[in-house]
């Protein structure tokens, strides 16, 4: 299973929340495909990671789920973002941006800049 090494701890949750925020309610399979698509197939999602994560987010109140009809006439469990989840997404987005900007400065730094 190690070959599927994919995303950093914690970042997958953020991706799930963002995807649901942008695309609206999705079922598990759709969510997995969308995330892979957005990552331009750099990511391969492990089923064994995704479903426990969805459960955890739901327990935390960030997402809610209910069964509904899907595109190929199957019924499936659809996940949607809740108000709590939206707030969490915003907070985490800001945190990520700050961290990313900070790290970027370190990557950009050259010896002469610090003279």
């Amino acid at each position: 299973m190690k070959k599927k090494t994919d995303v950093r701890q914690g970042t997958l949750a953020l991706m799930v929340l963002k995807t649901l925020d942008v695309l609206g309610p999705l079922h598990g399979y759709g969510l997995a495909k969308r995330i892979e698509q957005i990552s331009a197939d750099h990511l391969t999602l492990n089923t064994g990671t995704l479903y426990p994560l969805l459960l955890r987010l739901e327990q935390e109140g960030a997402i809610a789920s209910e069964r509904g009809p899907s595109e190929n006439n199957r019924s499936a469990r659809f996940y949607r973002l809740t108000a709590v989840g939206r707030k969490q997404l915003q907070a985490e987005t800001r945190a990520w941006e700050r961290t990313a900007a900070l790290i970027a400065r370190f990557f950009d730094v050259k010896a002469e800049d610090l003279q």
Binding site: G28, Y29, R74
Partner: protein
């Protein structure tokens, strides 16, 4: 918040406990269906599409596992599972469980009883609002750290007016004997003289009426008002709702009742007789008579302060130090150098009593801890033995893939569970132990405010100790039995591989024996003191009644006080059933220090070494007849020794030996100050001054020849010897005779001398009783431990012994083998324990009475009994080994 929500949901999922994988199954089903459809669209055959989809999803069981772990609380569930297994195992071995639980219950119960005592004595806050800000202020003798001494009222006023650290600073004299006369009859209570802000400081609300007004505490003697305690109001005044405004006589002065204190409040000194009444400090003269309670130099009051918010006790201490320095420079004559002022949190009993009890409580705590260690070692030994028996089960668990940590945890859960159940059962033991301790420590049964009721903190501490005990007893057996030696263990191999384990068990046994010997030896010392105490101080205290008369409390002049005393004695001696009565300034074996005067005394020899300081006290005519000891030679004081006649004295043997080693005591003279005394009698050395030290030289002087203006002489103790029956029966009659003469004179401490001694020796008796219990327990536990361990070891070595016998070893050889091993363990333990006794003995010295801390009889009796029990404990398994039938034993393998 998020975490909490999730935790609750998972907890609920765990609690409902359904193994509900329905949702995940659905999700995976859907996932595979979508993927299959996708694969078909990509051109695969239906079968291949589904196969690929399933492969993609990965190992379903592992996913389920992850999912379940997210959904519920796996750690909790594993723990509960462990508990279930542990409970099942406990049920399977009821004998072992009962033994372990009972052992731990005794150990833990005694500890929590002692813990409760320590808490009540040293830590318990006053039962009032926000007690953490309350401090006691007392004088501290900087020389030797004696603390908690009273100060004078003018000093209090200075502190109160200048200290900024306190929201309130109140003064109190809480040990004021008060004789109260009501229409229902006279009685005595412990009263308290307090400043007006005392109740406000404590934030109390009266149950009825009000507390003191500031103006009632302003002019000495003007406002005789009194607040009664709730208990007193209920028991002595029938909870009379119309009591406010009525009058009661206290020490001869009429007081008006203004309020009833709230229920459960008994004053601010814990561990003493409860306060029944409070009067304002302006009425000090009613409550205290040896000096003017409001005057400088009359050190009688204690201070209680409530710190301002934000002020630490250190800040307040610093401020009080400055003020004390100012006082000392203003009044160098009354405020002696070498005294400081000390603030201490108002917790526990009175500080001087804390200092008195601390060594005893420390000792009890030490002994209780030893018992717990012995009990734990015993249980650890049992668990170790069981662990051996369970090696196969554990090996199978490990072989099937259980992580070692998990198996250790399982075993630990078992031992902790045992300890917690033991702790629960120990609760019952602690209730009993607390009862014993209460009997001895709250003033030896006199009503006392020492509150030993269960406190939440004590209970929590007890639970913590129980859990810790569980871990300690469980950890090494658990580590030992899970050593990864799986194959060896699974091969029903009992003899080999166990050496390390049996060594650990033997070490535990040695420890147990050593500690038991230590406890038994120490108990022996205390028990011997106990018996000597019981034999008494050289006279029979139960035949003597004591009455304390305090005519000065009601304003008697010294001449009138003496006439009163003489009349009391005359009337008492006329009573049938009373053999003799005699006054004395103090009772034998005084509880508070040594209120006897040490004076410089010189013999006529003119030899400078014959001039030294010695104790003196004043006793009346026929005093030694009253005590029942009589004289060796000479005569008692009698009615011919008048107040103005020649001075006479009686000396004890210790003094006689020192001054007149050749004899001729009677008729000799000594000089004390300006006066010459003729020695008229010689008495035996009595345990009179102190029960704990060898009798020292003492000169008894004539009560009626002392300086009459000395207030001690007016508030005398009259000793009354009752002939025939016990003195206790005469007490009411004695009281009646005295109140006939003057009902106003406070008569207190009417009791039998023996009773008073009981109070004095209560702590020693308490410690003695507990030690007997501790020692007995140690004896039983060690014997059981020794027996169980050896019996088990024989069981383990059955095959080895059978082989030895088959090869020609005689039964005697086998018996010797077992015996040598058992007695070796015992001998090492006993020697270690006895050595420890020699070190521990001096720690007990202050509790011993008439016994040297190295007294061989006391030290060796207990260990010898243990030795006999040990022989039995060794003999039983040895006999079993000797009777072993080698053929049967080998065939059984």
């Amino acid at each position: 918040m998020r975490c909490l929500r999730r935790f609750l949901i998972r907890l609920a999922a765990s609690a409902t406990g359904r193994r509900d994988d329905e949702r995940l199954r659905e999700e995976l089903e859907d996932h595979i269906a979508f993927q299959t459809a996708e694969n078909v669209r990509a051109g695969m055959s239906a079968a291949e599409a589904r196969r690929q989809a399933v492969l993609d999803v990965g190992p379903v069981e592992a996913i389920k596992e992850d999912f379940r772990d997210e959904k519920r609380l796996p750690s909790l569930e594993h723990f509960l599972q462990d508990v279930r297994i542990a409970l099942r195992r406990m049920k399977q071995a009821p004998g072992f469980t009962a033994a372990a639980v009972a052992t731990l219950a005794l150990g833990l119960g005694l500890n929590s009883a002692v813990l409760g005592l320590a808490y009540a004595e040293f830590l318990k806050p006053l039962p009032v609002d926000d007690p953490s800000r309350l401090v006691n202020v007392g004088r501290l003798f900087t020389g030797d750290a004696r603390r908690g001494f009273p100060i004078s009222y003018p000093e209090y006023i200075y502190y109160r007016d200048h200290a900024r650290s306190f929201a309130h600073l109140a003064a109190h004299y809480s040990t004021s004997p008060m004789s109260i006369i009501t229409p229902g009859g006279p009685f005595n209570v412990m009263g308290s003289v307090v400043t007006a802000d005392y109740f406000g400081l404590l934030r109390l609300q009266p149950a009825m009426g009000r507390f003191f007004l500031p103006e009632e505490d302003a002019v000495p003697g003007r406002n005789p008002v009194v607040v009664l305690s709730y208990d007193l109001w209920r028991t002595r005044f029938g909870a009379d709702g119309g009591i406010l405004g009525t009058s009661v006589r206290i020490n001869g002065t009429a007081f008006t009742v203004v309020g009833i204190a709230p229920e459960g409040f008994h004053g601010v000194l814990m561990g003493l007789e409860p306060n029944g009444v409070w009067i304002p400090s302006a009425m000090f003269a009613v409550g205290y008579r040896y000096c003017n309670g409001l005057a400088r130099g009359c050190n009688v009051i204690g201070l209680l302060g409530r710190l301002n918010d934000g002020v630490s006790i250190q800040d307040a201490q610093a401020e009080m130090n400055v003020l004390t320095g100012q006082l000392q420079s203003m009044f160098p004559a009354t405020d002696n150098r070498g005294w400081g002022i000390e603030l201490r949190p108002a917790r526990g009993i009175r500080i001087d009593e804390q200092q008195r009890d601390a060594p005893i409580v420390r000792l009890l705590a030490g002994a209780a801890a030893l018992v717990l260690i012995i009990a734990s070692a015993n249980v650890a030994g049992l668990m170790l033995a069981r662990g051996l028996r369970r090696r196969k089960e554990i090996a199978i668990r490990l072989a099937l893939g259980a992580v070692r940590g998990r198996v250790i945890r399982l075993l630990l859960v078992e031992s902790v569970l045992l300890a917690v159940v033991g702790g629960g059962a120990g609760f019952l033991v602690s209730v009993w132990g607390t009862g014993v301790l209460r009997g001895y420590f709250g003033q030896g049964g006199v009503a006392s405010t020492l509150d030993l009721s269960l406190d939440l903190r004590v209970v929590l501490a007890g639970i913590a100790v129980a859990a810790l005990t569980g871990v300690v007893t469980g950890i090494s057996p658990a580590l030992q039995s899970t050593r990864p030696d799986t194959m060896g263990a699974m091969k029903e191999e009992s003899a080999g591989g166990g050496t390390r384990r049996s060594r650990l068990r033997e070490n535990l046994l040695v420890l147990q024996v050593a500690l038991s010997v230590l406890l038994l030896g120490s108990s022996g010392l205390l028990v011997r003191s106990f018996f000597l105490l019981h034999r008494g101080p050289g006279f029979d205290p139960d035949a003597i009644a004591l009455v304390r008369l305090r005519p000065s409390l009601v304003g008697y002049t010294d001449a009138r006080a003496w006439a009163f005393q003489r009349e009391v004695i005359q009337r008492l001696e006329a009573l049938p059933g009373i053999a003799a009565a005699s006054p004395a300034v103090v009772a034998p074996l005084p509880r508070w220090g040594r209120p006897v005067r040490a004076v410089r005394l010189a013999a006529d020899s003119g030899n400078p070494s014959d001039e030294f300081r010695t104790a003196t006290t004043f006793v009346g005519p026929r005093y030694f007849k009253t005590l029942g000891t009589g004289l060796i030679v000479g005569r008692e004081f009698d009615d011919h020794d008048t107040e103005d006649g020649p001075r006479v004295a009686i000396v004890n043997e210790a003094l006689a030996r020192r001054l007149w080693p050749k004899g001729d005591v009677v008729g000799s003279h000594v000089t004390i100050g300006p006066e010459r005394y003729e020695i008229v009698g010689l008495v035996k050395d009595l345990q009179w001054l102190s029960a704990f030290e060898a009798p020292e030289p003492i000169a008894y002087l004539n009560y009626w020849q002392q300086d009459r203006s000395n207030s001690w002489s007016q508030d005398s103790r009259t000793h009354i010897r009752v002939s025939g029956a016990a003195a206790a029966a005469m007490v009411p009659e004695i009281r009646r005779v005295i109140t006939e003469i003057d009902p106003d004179v406070p008569v207190s401490e009417v009791q039998v001398l023996g009773r008073q001694l009981d109070v004095q020796f209560a702590a020693v008796r308490g410690a003695g009783t507990m030690f007997v219990v501790f020692g007995g327990l140690a004896l039983v536990l060690s014997a059981i431990g020794l027996y169980a361990a050896l019996a088990f070891a024989i069981g383990q070595r059955t095959r080895e012994i059978a082989v030895r016998m088959a090869l020609g070893a005689s039964r005697l050889d086998v018996g010797r083998l077992v015996f040598r091993r058992g007695s070796g363990i015992f001998a090492i333990g006993a020697v270690t324990g006895l050595a420890a006794c020699l070190f521990a003995g001096p720690l007990l010295a202050h509790l011993l009475y008439g016994v040297s801390p190295r007294d061989p009889v006391a030290l060796l009796t207990g260990p010898l009994v243990l030795g006999l029990v040990a022989v039995l404990a060794i003999w039983l398994p040895a006999r079993r080994a000797m009777r072993l039938d080698p053929v049967a034993a080998l065939r059984a393998e």
